[in-house]
Each structure stands twice: as C-alpha cells, then as structure tokens.
Amino acid sequence: MPLDVIMPALGMAQDTGQIVAWHKAPGDAVAEGDVLFEVETDKATMEVEAQGAGYLVDVAAGAGEDVPVGQVIARIADSPEGGGSVAAPAPSDAPATTPDLPDGTTIIMPALGMAQDTGLLVGWNKEPGAQVAEGDILFEVETDKSTMEVPAGAAGYLAAVLAQAGDEVPVGETVAILTTDAPEAPVVRSYAETGGAQPAPAAEPPASPPAPPKEAATAEPAAPEPSKAAPTSVEGRILASPKARRLAREQGLDLARLVEAGHRQPYHVKDLDALRALPAPAATPAKAGVEPRRRLTARCGAEGLASFAAWLAAETGVRDPAPLLAAFAAASLRRAEAPLNVSVERMGYAQAFADADRAPLGRAEPNEAEPDLILRDLRLSPLASVDLGPEAVPVITLLAGPEGIDLTLECDAGVLTAPEAIALLSDFAGRLDEPLRHLL
C-alpha cells in the first residue's frame, strides 16, 4: 500500500506551501525520517521527513511550486516503479443493496407529519411476493396524528418485506423492496428483530472510503441523509456570523471547507476571503472521503412532449412547460407521500414546484422550497453533452439530441442508489417520450 506524501500545514493560517527543493529524486529509496523536501511558508522554511520507508514515486510537484496544504505531491511505494499518477481513485458505485436482499425499488417509511420521527406499521395490504401496481395500497402507517395508506409508487413484485405490523420504523428506513421479476422466495423480516435491511460491510469495494459507523437501525438502501455525506471532520453547527453565512450562501461558498482547512471559528465576513482562496475541492484529488458519483444518459423523442404540450395549451391555456416538466420529474422520483420539490431551470431562470405531480397538470404553483431534484432545460443551448459533476441534489439536464431530447442524470452515489437512479431516468424519459403515460 503506497504512502501518500502531502503538503503539510506548518502554520495555523497556512493555505499553501512552496516547495523549495526536493532532497530525493523520483525512484530513490527512502527510509523513514529521511528529509524528502523543503517547504517555505510565509513564516519559515521547514524540512519535511518521510513518514515511512520505500521508494519515492509519483512526484507531482516540483521545486518552486505552490501547493495547497493537504494535497498529495508524491507517494512512497514498495517498488521504484510506482503505482500510477496521483489522481483520485476511480469512481466506483457501491452495491445498491446488500447481497441477501433483492435488487429493486426500495419503499421507505414516509414522513407523514412535520415532526414525525417514526411511523407505526399498522399492516400490509399485500402478501410477500404479490404483484403490485403503482397505485396499489401497500401498507398502512399510523403516526401520532392519523393513519394513512401508502401506495406502492411503482409497479413490480413485493420481493422483500422488512417490517411487520406493529413495528415502529424510523422515517426514511426501507420497509419493502419491489422487483420487476417475480421473486422465488420473498424476504420477510421484522424490523423490530433485525433492524430492517442490515448493511453488509464486506460488500464495500476497497476503493470506497470506510463506511461511517452506522446505528443498528440504519438500512443501506434507505433514503440517504445529506448530513451523512458531509466530511466527518465537520461535526455539529458551524459558528459564523449572520452576514458571513448569508454571503457564503449567496456566493455558493461552503463554510464547512473552512472547518476542514482548520480555520478558527467563529467565521466572519473576512474569513470568506480565506475560503475563496482555498483550492477548489476538485484540486485535492486524493482527499479521502470523496463520494462516488453517478452519471446516466438517456434519449427520447421530442414529438411526444411537443404535441402533449400543444394539447395542454389548447385545453387549459397553460403554455409554460416548467410545471409540466416538474410534474413528470416529481412523478418519476416519487417514492413516498412526503413533499417533493422539483426546481426547473430554464433560460437562466429557476422555478421550484412542490408536489407538481399532485397538482392539476401544468398548474403547479412555484414555491421557495429547497429542491429535491433539479431539472436543467438546456434544449435551446448548443451544448452536446454535460458532465458537471454531482450537486447537492440530483440534476437532470435536458439537451437537444439527435433523436429529440438527450437526458443526463448526475448525482452523488449517496443520494440515489444505482437502481433508483436508473428507475428515475428511465421513468422520466418514458414520460417525456409518451406523456400520455403520465396520465395513466
């Protein structure tokens, strides 16, 4: 296992260090404690020692270069040949479900109230293994306020039932899995006994970061919590002035990066200068904890959507395609009764719609809520493809393509499982291709 050589932080407020000189050449054998290189900061010049023995390889920065603190500039390997360039480990998708659970659409305990943490599963309306349609009632949930019926949200076979009547299940936990093929032996468990879908740590690929400690009740395929994706060094609330917080938000700056860089809290407006001066996250390729990402593309015709929009305009006078697209996307993403916000960005203008799939077609009202999904309509742009990297929520980009519309879905692997991402984009492309499907 090669040892990373990083630019050390020698001062409290140091962002970069300049390599004055290397004391070892690429391929040289080094012993632990050997001086590898000299670094100059604004305060002093320091010698940096090797933290282990081996051969110096993959030297990525030369004398005179300014290197951000924490960046990998070389490796100490077992052989002088080295192990390739200093680059991020190739993104690899974590398995979507644990080996003993079927692949399919996960059904989660929905949040039916504002302050609801758990739901009491009253009973199942379908037998394990039964075929279910999208609108079939799957189970009933009792909260402190009411009892609600939860529809399947997708068609398939009830291949896994992970909670039983009487189980108190935390919101967001997986209670069932729907598969497209009839299961041979449906999985049936009680949440109270097993904690639902237990993760199988051994299934993690070696390239992915160590899984954060999970509580026994955490189910792997369940809806992700964004906070889990945050770097583990950023715990709790960041102390920052209201103005610094507001400016950071307006300028798209992430105060958590100041925490990671070791800047002292509380943060004020002037600390934003230091934040801007930090190297972009992409420039620290070997940083641990980089989430694998997903990028899927799909193609569909444009005629279906165009004629449907024309029909809708004639019937209702609604000409803005944004609420229509939001409705299609919300229906494709929907897994539960919880509010679902879709932001549609067209021609530099963003509108968010809450539960557009529940409003009369094309008549969803814009709201201010944080989106769960962004639709970026770039069909009028000359772009041929996009690879913008994951954002805070999944992004579906619409481009004009040879067959009509090219669709690209990008998200963090932690936000959607592979089956969820595939289902989302397939379903959305299907709705665009044949909008009448949406009405069915």
Binding site: L239, S241, P242, K243, A244, R246, H268, D271
Partner: protein, 331 residues
C-alpha cells in the same frame, strides 16, 4: 461660532421660548433666586418674575400634579425636577396622568408639558442622586424622551420640547452643565426622531446617548489611531427613535456597540440592540453589544463609582474585539 456651556444653552432656550410664548412658565424647587443647584436658570426670575419662575416647597408630587393640570388648561409648564432620581416621586402624575390624558380624553385634552431633569454618575453624589433613569419613562407610551449630548442639542431639543403638544422628558447630564460647545446665535430647533451621525466610519458603529456620545467619540479617536474606522451616532431622542439611521449604519459597518449610562439590564442599550438584531440581522458580522452602567447602586466611593459607567477605553476595547472577529462573550 461662539461657544457656550450646556447650562447657558438651556437658559437661552427657556428665555427665548418664554419671550416668544407667554404661556410658558417654570416651576420647581430652587428655580427662582437660587437658579437651581447647577445655576442653569440664573437670571430668568429677574426677567420673567416670580409669576413665571415659580419656586415650590419640597413637594414633587404636588408641583408635578399642579403642572399637569396647568398644561391641560392652556399653559406650557416646564417642570424642574432637581435630580432625575426624584422621578420615582412623580411617577403617577407623569406616567398615569400626563402620558395618558390625551388618549383617555379621546384627543380632547393635551398635556404640553416639559419635565426637565438630569442623569449621570461620577459626581460623587451617591446612590440616590446619581442614577440615569430615562429607560423608566421611555417604557411608557405617551411620553417623549430627549437626551441632549451637548450644549447645541440641549438648546435645540429644549425649544422643540416646549413647542410639542405632548409631555416630553428631557434628561440633561449633570456632568455636562459646564461643558462648552458651538451654539449659533440665531434661532434653531432640533426635530425629534433625528439621530445625528457625528462621524462616519466603516468598521464599527458606536451609538452613544447623552454624555456617552463623548465617550464614543473619544473611543473612536483611540480606534482611529489603530486604523479602525468607527462611526459615531447620537440618537438625540430615544422616543421617538430614529431607527432608520441606526439600521443604515448597522448594515454598513455590520458591527454595533450601544452605549448608554442607564443600567445595562432592561435598558436603552437592550432596546436599541434588539431592534438592530430584528431588522438588520443578516447584515451583522458580530453580535450587537450593549454597554450600560453596572447593575449596582451607584457607589459613593470615587474609585468604585468610576468603574460603574462605560469609558472610552472600555468601548474601544470592545470594538477592537468585534473588529478582530473574536468570540464575544461579554458579561
């Protein structure tokens, strides 16, 4: 421009208004021959006679009630309350009667009365003659409260107060009676509800009432020598309060210290800080700071008394912390 003392400025304001309007009269203890313990009214009884400069026995509730009635029936009394601390004696006449009569008479009656009194510690007058009690009356709807910060303000605010149709309480700082400031010969009035930006700055706003304005100005001098640019604002009246000017400055500098000589708890500093928090929160780069007098009876011991009130050095030190972005955990 000529410079006169705050004492002379008040005297001029009263004399000018008494000449202009014969319904204006002065009533209180030792106002005539004695001209008050601070000699503010010297010479007025000679010009206007004992019919308009009325000495009373030691009977604050009595002469205050008398003045409220006189105001309701067409005169404009200026009540002289020898020490601000004696305001506790006239609370019913002031807060239950004067403040509410216009409202409770359905607008049929007015109380165009001015209560002249004082505030301020460090005069070695001990706990019963050193308090700054303006927050008590600022709390009562129906009373206006002016806090002159120099001879110029003392004259302009007094003339405005006498012409107001509602009860106004003016607190002069008894430490400032002999302080001189430029005051024009020609007549002028200072409207209520207009704060005065005494110096512009970009790093921190110092809001100082009454003599705390001078404390803030001295603190700004100290800070300027260190390269910190402080804006100094005197609200001049706390009821009505010129919120707009204070908020604009808070939005500009993002850091505010409110300095007032009243006790810090439940006082003017808390009220102003709270309004800034409510209305300029997203422009603040630091918590708004209150600096008032210690929550203790004002000591007689000079060594102790001097540390109970905000000082230029203390204000500058607090400003330095704010600008440096230090974690503020002020007591």
């Amino acid at each position: 421009m000529r410079e006169i003392t705050l004492s002379q400025a008040v005297n001029e304001a009263l004399a000018e208004e008494m000449r202009r309007d014969e319904t204006v009269f002065i009533i209180g203890e030792d106002v005539a021959e004695a001209g008050t313990p601070f000699k503010v009214l010297s010479g007025l009884v000679e010009e206007f006679g004992t019919g308009r400069v009325v000495d009373t026995p030691i009977s604050e509730p009595g002469f205050m009630g008398l003045a409220v009635g006189a105001a309701m029936t067409g005169t404009r009394p200026v009540v002289d309350l020898m020490f601000g601390d004696f305001i506790f004696l006239i609370m019913d006449q002031l807060c239950n009667q004067a403040a509410k009569i216009h409202y409770m008479s359905g607008g049929k009656l007015n109380v165009p009365l001015v209560l002249r009194t004082n505030l301020g510690a460090t005069r070695r007058s001990a706990a019963q003659h050193s308090q700054s009690l303006h927050a008590l009356v600022a709390h009562i709807p129906g009373l206006k409260v002016a806090l002159p910060s120099s001879a110029y303000e003392a004259k302009g605010l007094m003339k405005t107060a006498i012409r107001d149709h509602n009860p106004v309480v003016i607190f002069e700082d008894k430490l400032m009676y002999n302080d001189k400031a430029p005051v024009p010969e020609e007549e002028y009035l200072i409207p209520f509800g207009q704060a005065n930006v005494l110096r512009e700055g970009s790093d921190v706003t110092l809001i100082g009432t009454s003599s705390m304005r001078q404390v803030c100005e001295k603190a700004a001098d100290i800070l300027a020598a260190e390269g910190i640019s402080a804006e100094v604002i005197d609200p001049r009246t706390i009821v009505p309060l010129d919120e707009e000017t204070l908020l604009a400055s808070a939005r500009k500098t993002s850091r505010v210290i409110v300095v007032d000589e009243g006790h810090q708890s439940f006082g003017i500093t808390g009220e102003i800080a709270s309004r800034i928090n409510e209305k300029a929160f997203y422009h603040l780069d630091a918590p708004v700071q209150r600096m008032g007098a210690m929550d203790v009876p004002v000591p007689f011991s000079p060594a102790l008394e001097d540390i109970t009130v905000p000082t230029p050095e203390g204000v500058a030190a607090r400003a330095r912390k704010l600008v440096a972005g230090e974690m503020i955990d002020a007591a």
